[in-house]
Amino acid sequence: MRDSSQPLAGLRQRIARLAASGGPATQSAQSWLATGHDAFDAAIGGGLAIGRTHEFFAADALDGASAAAFAALVALRTPGKAPLLWLRTVDAGRRTGHIYAPGIAELGGDPDRLLLVETVDSKMLLACANDAVRCAGSAAVIVESWGKFPLLDLTAGRRLALGARDTGTTLLMLRLNAVPTPSVAETRWHVVAAPSRELEANAPGAPAFDLELLRWRGGPAGTRWRLDWDKDEQAFRDAALSGAVLPLAARRTVHPLGAAAA
């Protein structure tokens, strides 16, 4: 009896120590991936916190391109040559298309920093994501998944978040074609493509994003933003609203989609 209780007591002590050191919520972040848009960054405490998990939800493949570009641009904005790890499954190329380096170069990012990892299934995707977040030195880790991700339950999410916190890796989860579910993410966003500012001769302009903050551990959620990417300044800025679009209040009531998940 005594033999088995001693390891048990040891385990309890370990759990107590782990709990004392705190989950992802108790330690505040030290640095942020800024978007370059002052009001946006200030509203979420400085930007996307480094060493935390951030989720980007998109309804389908079309908005998926916007969500992916937003995550990639925030990560590639950081100076230096630190690689950006992008994990996806092999069938992602058929669904949403292959990551196209000339397009990233056109957005002002450096495609040489990309390290693409393709896995056969989502189980392997999760295993590789766990390894990737535990490796220091990357600008960020983007994990792109399609549809429901039943393997990514609270336990798996917490394991990822703890790994990211220990090494200071920022984990950006791209959840395409998925409905927001409870998770340990620091921020959770809903990304939709927004109409761009038109150029001469009715040509489409710079990329525009509609972002809705569904959840933020550090404060109130529900804010909506419409941002443009300015590739010459390497920063996001306010989208110039064209006449057809209604201006959005900075803080609106919580979107039903967000309310369900928060």
Binding site: L62, D63, G64, A65, L85, P111, C135, S196, P204
Partner: protein, 449 residues
Amino acid sequence: MPLADARAQVPGLAIVPHDPVLDHGWLDRLAQGCARYTPLVALDAPDGLILDITGCTHLFEGEAGLIDDIDRRLTRLGMTLRHALGPTADAARALARYQTRPAPDEASAIRRLPVAALELEAEATTALVRAGLKTIGDLAARPMANIAARFGADAAMALRRLLGDAPSPLDPRVAPLPVATERRFAQPVASMPHATRILAELVSEAIIALAERGKGGRDFRATFFRSDGLARSIAVETGHPTRDAGLVMRLFAERMDGLRDPLDPGFGFDMMRLAVPRLEALATSQLKLEGGAVKDAATDELADRLATRLGRGRVRKLRPADTHIPEQAQLELPAIDAPPPTPWPAPEPGEPPLRPFYLFDPPQVIEVIAEVPDGPPHRFRWRRATHAIRRYEGPERIAAEWWRRRDNGGLTRDYYRVEDERGRRYWLFRHGLYDEKPDPRWYIHGLFA
């Protein structure tokens, strides 16, 4: 003859600058190829090869067969060949280079060679000729002491070597031995943990051998020989040369965990061998002192580990390719041996992105309604949804690469950048102009951010 005179005589003369380094490299490659005839191949720079074919000719049905084979292969490579066989390397070399008249046997052929075949300095050769000694035979008829006294010890030595009286050793080209360590067991090793420990020892021995040569390994290959005769090899690769035993063992552990049919010792392994077939120069460095490369090392190791687990082609880097066909403009190469980055085309300042973020390869067919046949699209249907186009820019006309294919390389594409009423941006193209094809189809090729 000066180049100007040569050009005056032959107007269309093709001129290539002399590159001794390239020539030597080519000779070395030929020597490598000649290793099929004999293991002893020596370079005779700048334009000769000496093969020691002692005991090798029966494989080619005699000397003639061997020479025929060499002749055929080298002629196919566009080389002009002069060859000769001799009792010693120097004799064969002199015969190949200086023989002008046929002779009944080797000894008389050597005696008929001109004295230039001794390859003495120009003054010595002239002195020999002036003394009336025109051939090797003339010289060999004199007492050696007189030759040495009058024309120098070098002339006497060269003559003796040519006649086979003095040794003329070859300096064969030797392929560098690969790094390999092995361990044989008196008692077969039947437990996998024990075998792994021995593998770790082999790896550290190989690492010491690598450090002595100033090299790092890119490829590590462990072979397990079972006592019942089966052998199994396991290989791991790294993206950069390494001498880190811990890293190599982690990769091996990763590989062994991922094996579909695990390594089975059966009745035990009676031998294990670790080879490092691929070496690259790796200077000793202290990462921490030479400024923050430690983190790079961490991500490199992650890439190696993921490539070991998923397969080398599943961890990739993107590199530009010099073409304007959109789907060929990027190369996805395995990160383990991707070439160093080359610059991507810089975007025009002030312009919106002209290339999509996601690219469909192959492009997906869509149904398009355009106001006029060769005008911009008005609305399109893709994946069972209709999108009305509010803004567009185009066409950007991308012609097929007519210089690559005989049928002019296919159809011209007219690309349009369009935005629908919900703000999604697409890259569409019409495959073919109306004068190329009666009813060209439309495709979606990419999604913009």
